[in-house]
């Protein structure tokens, strides 16, 4: 059982507030990802959970017990550091066994455990090497192995993949997911990469400036972002935001006039005419063929990726719209296209960036 709760956790370094009243609950065996831009406080939050940093106020509750004053070693957690923090002067074997030695584990038990972990992570032939003789991916495995060796209830991973090259990152990501299933352990994972968050997480916690913006499953966050920040942060390429105003309409079907003069009809409550509103539309929900609202635009850049074609376009009043079109298209830079937004998948945000609730946007798929 490893159940973790953060209750009203705040942290400040001197006058600078880093975390503000954070409430998060992590269930047993859950894979939770803290995501957010750098400086959002996600690493600090992880270090508070680990016990490497003390919260200014609030509680860290592990399995129903407040552990605020417990030292890092005594919380039964393990951490994988961003830099791996492998002891450079020790061999891989010594790195793995150091923690067990410190807890006075019998020699034969240590050896058995190290051998087991090494087999599981396929690093058996590396055991006598020093960290500097390993590749990035191998170091990563050793770092995870070092965390696994003491069989902790909760794994804390601080941007563990950020030092790997893109290709390796994808492989390791898959391995991590598999490992989570196999270990049946609670994992808390910090990253700034939303793709990692989407692919790995059971639930995602989006943080910005020390505040929790939204907590939910990846698809909840994708389909129903609580605010403009989450909407922009989750999903690639990023969501387009088109500025506009309310222009009448009847109950449940507001008419919106986008800057540049294009009209849209949206199933959200009507607000007074002229009130500003931001319409969010994912690049994958824009087409150049068919659809209702058609916005003439000039293509400035074409990225032909093969399975899809991403175009950047400029429309009157809307400086930059990105559309991801399925398949390969005969569009070149300078062409004029007419963009059709799929009105089923539009998001609306008010002037404060909050989602304008409607409950009518369909689930994708």
């Amino acid at each position: 059982m490893s159940h973790l709760e953060l209750k009203n956790v705040s942290k400040s370094f001197g006058p600078v507030g880093v975390l503000h009243h954070v409430d998060i609950e992590v269930k047993d065996r859950e894979f939770v990802v803290f995501v957010g831009p750098s400086g959002c406080g996600k690493s600090t939050l992880l270090r508070i959970i680990a016990g490497l940093e003390k919260a200014t106020s609030g509680d860290v509750v592990l399995d129903g017990e407040v552990v605020n004053h417990l030292a890092a070693a005594d919380r039964g957690l393990a951490m994988v550091f961003q830099s791996y923090a492998l002891y450079p002067h020790m061999s891989v074997r010594q790195n793995l066994s150091f923690g067990l030695e410190n807890t006075k584990t019998p020699r034969d038990k240590i050896e058995a455990r190290v051998a087991e972990i090494a087999r599981m992570l396929r690093i058996e032939e590396l055991l006598e090497r020093k960290p500097r003789q390993l590749s990035g991916g191998q170091r990563q495995r050793v770092a995870i192995g070092r965390a696994m060796v003491r069989r902790p209830g909760v794994f804390l991973l601080d941007e563990p993949l950020s030092n790997l090259d893109a290709e390796l990152r994808v492989t390791m990501r898959a391995e991590l997911a598999a490992l989570h299933k196999r270990l049946d352990a609670t994992m808390i994972y910090v990253t700034h990469d939303q793709t990692e968050a989407m692919t790995l997480a059971d639930r995602i916690v989006v943080l910005r400036d020390g505040r929790v913006e939204q907590i939910g499953t990846p698809l909840e966050l994708y389909n129903r972002p609580a605010n403009r920040f989450v909407a922009g942060f989750i999903g690639a390429p990023h969501m387009n935001f088109l500025e506009g105003r309310f222009a009448g309409g009847e109950a449940g079907a507001a008419r919106i006039e986008l800057d540049g003069g294009h009209m849209l009809s949206l199933r959200i409550p009507v607000r007074p005419e002229g009130e500003p509103i931001t319409i969010g539309v994912r690049p994958h929900h824009i087409e150049t063929q068919g659809g209702q609202a058609r916005i003439p635009a000039t293509v400035t850049l074409v990225e032909a990726l093969g399975p899809e074609t991403v175009i950047h376009a400029e429309a009157e009043g809307q400086p930059r719209i990105v559309a991801a079109l399925a398949g390969q298209r005969a569009i070149t830079s300078g062409d004029t296209v007419s963009l059709a937004l799929d009105e089923r998948f539009l998001h609306a945000f008010d002037a404060d960036g909050r989602r304008v609730t409607e409950g009518e946007v369909a689930e994708e798929m």
Binding site: A50, A71, F98
Partner: protein
């Protein structure tokens, strides 16, 4: 020879000679003579016998007049090359000298005495290393004792220095605590007050602690070197804190973090400090001179000084013992030159 000359004078890139190249070479060659020459001269001289040392002008190599055992004489006799009146050159031994005439004899037929004017003979010389210059001081005088004392002081002081300084440096680099800045400032302040300024009160402290005339009195005041603390602290600051945190997550106690993680990783700096400490303590002079009054306790440097200060300086012994006392340092330098020079260049300590 010319091959070596062209090797040495060949310039990278094959550019033509500039007058500054000539100046630089003059500087280097002069430097070589001036820096190396005296030491080479010391080495050569240390193998000369007492008689050879008093010769003036001196010879370069340790020559000695050849001595021959001749039948009928108890002592060996000096061998001379003699230009006879008839122009023939003969090898004769000198039996005795009377005024300007030497009585000489053929070593094969020693009964016949040949009279030769002094000017007509030249001693036959051969190279002979007076190794007794090295062995006698150890046997007859206290030098073995001095040597042992120096080794003891150097080794013990260095070990204590390394342990104490690295512990303090660890605390000052890896912990946040109240008064850290104050401690740093105090250590920094003592950089300004070298030993030579506090010898008087330190002398009374040593006396008060009953350490006067004891090797521990030489050792203890030197072990808390501020330079050592700073050198190690500077290096430990570069060890990432994440390693310490990882160790803490690994259930390591703080003491274990110090000696299993931080100390091994700080080894390069520790090694530099060890080398410096060995040299400092081996070469220390003023403080041992003050603390040690008993001959038995003298270190090599103090012993050497008192030996050379005697009225009738026994240069043949002094020179040999000088070589002995510089030998460890020269050996260290030969093996660790790169280490020492880069250590000095990066830290500016000596």
């Amino acid at each position: 020879m010319s091959g070596i000359a062209t090797f040495l004078t060949r310039r990278r890139g094959g550019a033509s000679w500039h007058f500054t190249d000539v100046l630089a070479w003059i500087w280097l060659v002069a430097g070589l003579l001036l820096m190396f020459g005296p030491v080479v001269w010391l080495g050569l001289s240390s193998f000369k016998t007492r008689a050879a040392l008093s010769e003036f002008p001196p010879t370069l190599l340790p020559y000695e007049t050849a001595m021959v055992h001749v039948e009928g004489f108890d002592e060996p006799l000096p061998l001379y090359r003699v230009m006879m009146e008839d122009g023939e050159e003969r090898l004769l031994v000198q039996v005795r000298r009377i005024g300007t005439v030497a009585q000489m004899a053929d070593p094969e037929a020693p009964e016949e005495i040949i009279r030769v004017p002094l000017a007509a003979r030249q001693p036959v010389r051969e190279i002979k290393l007076a190794t007794e210059n090295y062995s006698t001081p150890f046997k007859r005088y206290n030098f073995l004792r001095y040597f042992y004392n120096s080794v003891f002081v150097t080794v013990v002081a260095t070990i204590i220095t390394l342990i104490f300084n690295s512990m303090a440096a660890f605390a000052l680099s890896k912990y946040e605590f109240k008064g850290r800045t104050a401690v740093l400032a105090i250590i920094l302040a003592t950089l300004m007050v070298p030993l030579s300024v506090i010898i008087i009160p330190l002398f009374s402290v040593i006396n008060g602690l009953n350490l006067f005339n004891s090797l521990w009195g030489v050792i203890l005041p030197t072990v808390a070197t501020p330079t050592g603390v700073f050198l190690l602290r500077q290096y430990m600051l570069t060890i990432p804190d994440e390693l310490l945190e990882a160790a803490r997550m690994d259930h390591a106690s703080e003491w274990k973090i110090y000696w299993r993680i931080v100390l091994p990783l700080a080894m390069p700096a520790v090694a530099v400090l060890a080398i410096f400490s060995v040299m400092w303590r081996w070469n220390d002079f003023l403080w041992p001179l003050i603390v040690l009054s008993d001959q038995e306790l003298y270190t090599l440097q103090v012993g050497l000084n008192s030996f050379q200060g005697e009225l009738n300086v026994q240069w043949h012994y002094v020179l040999a013992m000088t070589v002995v006392s510089m030998l460890p340092v020269v050996v260290i330098f030969a093996f660790l030159q790169r280490f020492i020079t880069s250590g000095i260049a990066s830290t500016g300590i000596k």
